[in-house]
């Protein structure tokens, strides 16, 4: 049994509850136990860093300080925005002890910051710490026939000097996880384009335009579904999809899964535990492709592998 410190983030109790609950199912199969940071607070994403430097560091700092009180060396974060803010804080604090001291003074009653806990997104944890072989070994219902466009968004792999994970331009970790589950990852060019993220409420037109392009490219890549690892990406692509369709005069009907939902499905969990009714775009059409053999699938698979080989050479 492995233990992992867990930062769920605000959306885990709301918009991305299905991410949180399927993540827990998946980790149960993989024998990983999550330990929540006790009484964690919002990391401030994405507003604190827009408005003020001190709060942008102080809010994540309190969680980092609390996380150090647990015994685990690594912290896993579900939400990509939370992951980004916590990682930025850690990297900047580690680079600049003077700043770390100043920020620590805002939460000093909660503890002293040492920077001893490593921070990973759940995607990174699944890819690096659990590994493709282990994931593959737990698959009981392979997702053969399902074609997915893996969408990473901006925050999981960028900026490179903060995340140190995968490629900032054409990442492949989620693609390989999906392929380990038996699905086929399509050659999708908009993997790391921005969905509009925090403008979801304050600047909806921008989100509809940016997310619209992502949906268009995903459809063009031949995918039945989009797979994400970020609550904001999921809600922008799923909840706003009907409005985007109206705006563009196109019907996409492309469901947006969390990668943990697909993992849980392939690990054999019954469908009623996967929270599919929470999706705005129905998932049944895409899931009906599982089990159907597609002659073009082999070809797409090779493309992804070739790209991975290429990125390794670089």
């Amino acid at each position: 049994m492995k233990k992992l410190t867990y930062f769920p983030g605000c959306s885990a109790h709301g918009t991305s509850e299905e991410f949180d609950s399927t993540l827990k199912l998946v980790l149960k199969t993989l024998d990983v136990v999550l330990e929540d940071i006790p009484d964690w607070n919002c990391c401030g994403a994405t507003s604190a860093h827009v408005m003020t430097e001190n709060l942008a560091y102080a809010l994540p700092m309190r969680n980092l300080v609390l996380a150090e009180k647990l015994e685990n060396t690594t912290m896993g974060i579900a939400c990509a925005s939370c992951y980004q803010r916590m990682k930025v804080t850690k990297v900047h604090m580690d680079e600049n002890p003077e700043l770390a001291k100043r920020i620590n003074s805002t939460v000093v009653e909660d503890g002293t910051y040492h920077g001893s806990v490593e921070i990973k997104s759940m995607l990174q944890y699944a890819y690096e710490d659990i590994g493709l072989e282990t994931i593959k070994s737990k698959v009981t219902k392979p997702l053969t026939g399902l074609k997915v466009a893996c969408y990473y968004g901006c925050l999981l792999t960028r900026p490179k000097n903060i995340t140190h994970f995968d490629s900032p331009e054409y990442p492949v970790s989620m693609d390989q996880i999906c392929e380990a589950l038996g699905a086929t990852a399509t050659d999708f060019d908009f993997k790391t384009e921005c969905c509009g993220a925090s403008f979801s409420i304050s600047n909806t037109e921008v989100v509809e335009s940016l997310s619209g392009k992502i949906l268009e490219m995903a459809k063009e890549s031949g995918a039945h579904a989009i797979v994400v690892a970020c609550p904001l990406c999921q809600s922008n692509l799923d909840m706003r999809q009907p409005d985007i369709e109206k705006l563009q005069g196109v019907k996409y009907g492309i469901p947006v899964f969390y990668f943990t939902q697909l993992m849980a499905l392939a690990f054999g969990y019954p469908i009623d535990q996967l929270k599919f009714p929470k999706h705005i775009i129905p998932v049944e059409g895409a899931l009906a492709n599982i089990g159907k053999v597609d002659p073009s699938a082999e070809k797409t698979k090779k493309t992804t592998k070739a790209v991975k080989a290429e990125s390794e050479v670089q």
């Binding site: 605000c10 959306s11 109790h13 709301g14 918009t15 509850e17 009484d39 607070n41 919002c42 401030g44 994405t46 507003s47 604190a48 860093h49 827009v50 408005m51 003020t52 430097e53 001190n54 709060l55 102080a58 809010l59 309190r62 100043r102 003074s105 805002t106 939460v107 009653e109 909660d110 901006c154 925050l155 960028r158 900026p159 490179k160 900032p168 331009e169 790391t192 384009e193 921005c194 509009g196 993220a197 925090s198 403008f199 409420i201 304050s202 600047n203 909806t204 921008v206 940016l210 809600s235 909840m239 706003r240 409005d243 009714p277 929470k278 999706h279 705005i280």
Partner: protein, 189 residues
């Protein structure tokens, strides 16, 4: 009149460099950031022009531009910048300086973006976590746009996509204390 650096120091450039940790002078105006930026078409001045404006010491113009408010910090530009300049950090530095020095861009869009962030931060101050439903409601009320996204509400609420409440922190005091100290630090600078 624009004066080019001959009349002494470009204090604006120095302030931006110090705050961002980047060196804006390294920009050689290739424009790759503009082509990469997903929102450059919405900006008064795209990132490349802002960089040049900082080099020229055009403080007022940089502060009043909507560019730094539209920047999504997606870091696509800095990933492709051949000079490896942290452009989002530069945008953030300009925005923070503009806020500190009370330069207010009064366009409706910028006001809405700013209002959203202020409401978000007030939610955290009050509950320690984000209360999504209340945040959306307050945003609609305070931007006088009551029916924004209302057509999404029935489905989102029924499906439990947006919960009705929030579980506040046990140590909500710790957050308020943090806010108070952070605000004090802000004033000291």
């Amino acid at each position: 009149m624009i004066t080019l650096g001959t009349q002494g120091k470009n204090t604006f450039l120095e302030a931006v460099n110090e705050k961002s940790g980047a060196n804006v002078l390294e920009c050689y105006q290739c424009g790759k950031c503009v082509g990469t930026c997903p929102v450059s078409q919405y900006m008064d001045f795209p990132p490349r022009e802002i960089m040049q404006m900082i080099k020229l010491g055009l403080k007022n113009e940089s502060y009043m531009a909507n560019s730094h408010w539209f920047c999504l910090t997606c870091s696509a530009c800095s990933g492709r910048c051949p000079r490896e300049i942290d452009i989002p950090a530069v945008m953030e530095a300009v925005r923070h300086l503009a806020i500190e020095e009370n330069y207010l861009n009064t366009s409706t869009k910028v006001k809405e973006i700013r209002k959203f962030h202020e409401i978000f931060l007030s939610m955290i101050k009050r509950y320690g976590r984000n209360y999504e439903l209340r945040m959306m409601a307050e945003f609609n009320i305070r931007t006088r746009n009551l029916f924004k996204d209302m057509h999404l509400a029935p489905k989102a609420l029924l499906k439990g996509k947006i919960p009705l409440g929030v579980k506040p922190l046990k140590s909500a005091k710790a957050i308020r204390r943090m806010y108070a100290i952070a605000e004090k630090l802000e004033k000291k600078k």
